[in-house]
């Protein structure tokens, strides 16, 4: 390990990622970016379903999502349904700090790998358990994906035109990623506690809860006033106006948001109509909210008379909060994304090709995270891990392979 590697905050921490697709594995991805050694434990046949999620590539047909999100992981194949697979898994758990899993509740228990067993093997173990509905409650056995979690957690109901068909809130995997983030917070808090006490614990994360938690005042507003929030389309004018999406002359879109009167005054100036922000017209948020349709129409008319570049240039000149609705081509061409190195090209091992993936978030000044490698080939590291970590011989490994345990 070089100086930077050993200096990373999670150097020396070993994580077993026995989960599939995005949610729990994204927690392991984050831990790996900051120095943890992540062992991706996969079924010997086919491996993680994420390998087939999205656009296939030249590398064994593994998808781009796999290559990007399984970054920094080592792939170890292991059939947990096989008693020998379960035994080896327990040996790995004994030598690890964190385990991420997302089987349906009761599955690991069925294989003799429940929390009671694993925590006995390793009392300091931290286990992240992710499912659609959590480990408890009446729906715990229902299948759940992010799309279902968006619906149950209340966010899908809010995306779309008023009374129209509710749409996907931007991306179908949002809830998976958000749960990975919450899971990672849980793991880091548990690690902090373990340093003090030596005791491990498990984190029970539900996809729908991550989505639901990020709902500002939706909950108290219903609790107190029985206010049911509905779909708002491109504008959300409950608290601020204008706050929405506007089309420009060249058929593109911009977002403009004036959360305060000061910001509206800047927009009025950008529009060349500072008088709109006077107290007798629309200077006051309350007045703007009462006349939201009129205010939106003024902004809409102004935006549609100019190109996107012109609208933005004028907004930026007066420090009005505005931005283009970037598509991915816009993002690849953007100076800020480049200056912040948000896009990074990484070699796909053994192919001589690179692919561009989103870089590490967040940025730490002293111990920045890094991407060492993209998603591994299925079972690429099985031999080395079993040999180095568990001290198995070539013969043993060959025998396990022949019996399809690994």
């Amino acid at each position: 390990m070089d100086g930077h590697e050993s200096n990373l905050p999670l150097a020396g921490i070993r994580v077993i990622d026995a989960a599939t697709v995005v949610a729990a594995p994204f927690c392991a991805t984050l831990l790996g970016e900051f120095g943890a050694d992540v062992l991706k434990v996969e079924h010997p046949v086919g491996g993680d379903a994420l390998r087939r999620f999205g656009t296939p590539t030249f590398r064994d047909g593994d998808t781009l999502t796999w290559l990007s999100e399984a970054r920094n992981k080592r792939s170890v194949t292991l059939n947990l349904q096989h008693p020998d697979g379960a035994r080896i898994f327990k040996e790995l758990v004994a030598k690890s700090d964190v385990l991420c899993e997302n089987f349906r509740p009761g599955t690991l228990e069925k294989w003799g790998l429940g929390w009671d067993v694993l925590s006995q093997i390793n009392p300091g173990l931290i286990m992240l358990r992710v499912t659609g509905y959590g480990q408890t409650g009446p729906y715990k056995d229902r299948p759940g994906f992010a799309r279902i979690a968006h619906a149950v957690g209340g966010i899908s109901y809010l995306a779309g035109m008023p009374k129209g068909t509710p749409v996907t809130p931007g991306s179908t995997t949002l809830g998976d990623y958000m749960t990975g983030l919450y899971g990672c917070i849980g793991v880091l808090i548990a690690l902090h506690y373990r340093e003090k006490t030596g005791r491990g614990q498990y984190i029970d994360a539900a996809l729908y809860e991550s989505v639901f938690r990020c709902s500002d005042e939706l909950v108290p507003a219903y609790g107190m006033y029985k206010k049911v929030r509905e779909r708002h389309g491109p504008h959300h004018n409950d608290f601020a106006c204008p706050h929405g999406h506007f089309q420009t002359k060249d058929g593109k879109w911009v977002a403009i948001s004036c959360a305060t009167d000061k910001l509206f005054a800047r927009l009025a100036k950008a529009m060349g109509r500072p008088e709109l922000a006077s107290s007798s017209i629309y200077g006051d948020q309350k007045v703007r909210l009462q006349h939201a349709n009129d205010v939106n129409e003024i902004v809409r008319d102004w935006c549609s008379s100019l190109t996107r570049a012109e609208v933005l240039e004028r907004c930026y000149a007066t420090a009005t909060p505005a931005a283009p609705l970037n598509d991915i081509a816009d993002i690849f061409g953007d100076r800020q994304f480049h200056a912040r190195r948000n896009l990074v090209a990484i070699d796909v091992d053994h192919t001589g090709e690179t692919i561009i993936v989103p870089n590490v978030v967040p940025k730490l000044s002293e111990t920045p995270g890094r991407i060492k490698s993209l998603g591994p080939r299925l079972g690429e590291h099985t031999g080395e891990v079993l040999k180095d970590l568990l001290g198995m011989s070539e013969a043993e490994i060959g025998e396990l392979r022949a019996r399809r345990v690994i």
């Binding site: 999100e69 799309r147 068909t165 849980g186 939706l218 879109w253 931005a323 970037n326 991915i328």
Partner: protein, 397 residues
């Protein structure tokens, strides 16, 4: 509690960054909300008002577990007091426009001198560096800039808000909290603090699965997909007979087979028809139409019952009213009723995630402005009662 003994100063406004302090507070950290003596955090006025003049519902819920301390950072003496507070704290969270704290004489170099172990989270629309760093950015702007808003809505139609307005603020805070916990770990090993720099747009952009590599490799620009997904069919929102909505997600062939059974049309999942995902994707409109018609012929309850019987991934599109009625939300304790000073019981979302040994908790909702100013200056900074009075009179605190 895992974070007891950790002191956090939250000098941010609204949610982007401050929500990270909320999470740390839920797991035992002491959170001091440092606010301007006049008016305080503008989130106190953002959202639905309550009987308390200094608190909206959004403030009460999201400023949970804090003590409020007033300091005017635009005054020299305020800055000095603030540095004393920083010297006694572990974490500082701010979200001013980059350069603002430096203008007040509170740049990283000064703060680090006051406290070499300090962990500082800085959240802003575009991050601390790069050509746009000075631009003002809120979640709404970051959703657009980060590429999420472009994707919400029907193909070729108006892009809508991706569900809720402050989503990006939460996402930036989640990344921020991870950064803080990593930095605290590094500090424990080395004694050395550091800065975590989060652009809200980066938090949003990081979560967009393969959108970047797919453009980089194949020039593929993802467009709005309405209620569906490019990955699988049927995978979307469907209206029931009683004018409600359900989400159905047949990510794999097995799931579609189950749906076909739930529809009592198992033949649909045969290899000649739509048993294969590629065939379903090719016949997207037909498969969706079959699902639309079946769902439209039944009530939501009936669709849910039949799908669940066959283990089809299905869920109601819950409104907040549905959520309050739901037995699973109740069983998981997702809605917590907490007493708020001067308001009474307020229902708020409970702590996420759930930890088995050291669960988080909500000790109090958003505090009255300056409720801990005296206590903190008197006890933590050892300033005399007379001096506190003088500072108060001069509106420094």
């Amino acid at each position: 509690m895992p974070l007891s003994g950790i002191r956090v100063i939250d000098v941010g406004n609204f949610l982007a960054g401050p929500y990270a302090a909320s999470i740390l507070g839920e797991f035992g950290a002491e959170v001091l909300k440092v606010e301007h003596p006049i008016g305080g955090d503008p989130m106190r006025r953002f959202g639905t008002p309550t009987t308390r003049h200094d608190a909206t519902l959004a403030w009460l819920s999201e400023a949970r577990n804090r003590k409020s301390v007033t300091i005017d950072l635009r005054q020299r003496e305020g800055v000095e007091l603030f540095l004393k507070l920083v010297a006694k704290s572990d974490v500082l969270i701010e979200n001013f426009r980059p350069g603002t704290m430096e203008e007040w004489g509170l740049g990283w170099d000064v703060l680090r001198e006051a406290n070499p172990g300090l962990v500082m989270l800085r959240v802003s629309g575009y991050g601390q560096t790069g050509p746009y760093r000075r631009r003002s950015g809120f979640a709404h702007i970051a959703h657009a800039f980060g590429g999420l808003s472009y994707l919400a809505g029907f193909p070729g139609e108006t892009p809508v808000l991706p569900g809720t307005a402050p989503l990006g603020d939460y996402m930036a805070s989640l990344f921020g909290a991870i950064g803080i916990l990593l930095a605290l770990r590094h500090k424990e090993k080395t004694g050395c603090g550091q800065v975590i720099d989060v652009g809200i747009y980066e938090a949003v952009f990081r979560l967009l699965d393969e959108i970047a590599p797919a453009y980089g490799l194949f020039g593929k620009i993802r467009e709005r997909e309405g209620s569906g997904s490019f990955i699988a069919v049927p995978h979307g929102h469907f209206r029931t007979k009683d004018d409600k909505w359900v989400a159905i997600a047949c990510t794999t062939d097995k799931m579609f087979e189950r749906l076909a059974e739930a529809m009592e049309r198992p033949e649909l999942a045969s290899p000649e028809l739509y048993g294969d995902q590629r065939k379903r994707l090719a016949a997207r409109d037909t498969v969706n139409q079959i699902t639309i018609e079946w769902v439209g012929s039944l009530t939501r309850e009936e669709v849910m019952r039949r799908c669940l019987e066959k283990e089809v991934p299905v869920g109601p599109l819950n409104s907040i009213a549905d959520i309050f009625e739901d037995e699973h939300f109740r069983a998981r304790g997702n809605l917590a009723c907490v007493e708020a000073e001067g308001v009474g019981g307020v229902v708020v979302p409970n702590v996420v995630p759930t930890l088995s040994e050291t669960p988080g908790r909500i000790t109090n909702l958003g505090p009255p402005l300056g409720n801990a100013t005296y206590e903190v200056f008197r006890e933590l900074l050892n300033i005399s009662a007379d001096e506190i009075k003088r500072l108060r009179n001069r509106k420094i605190i």
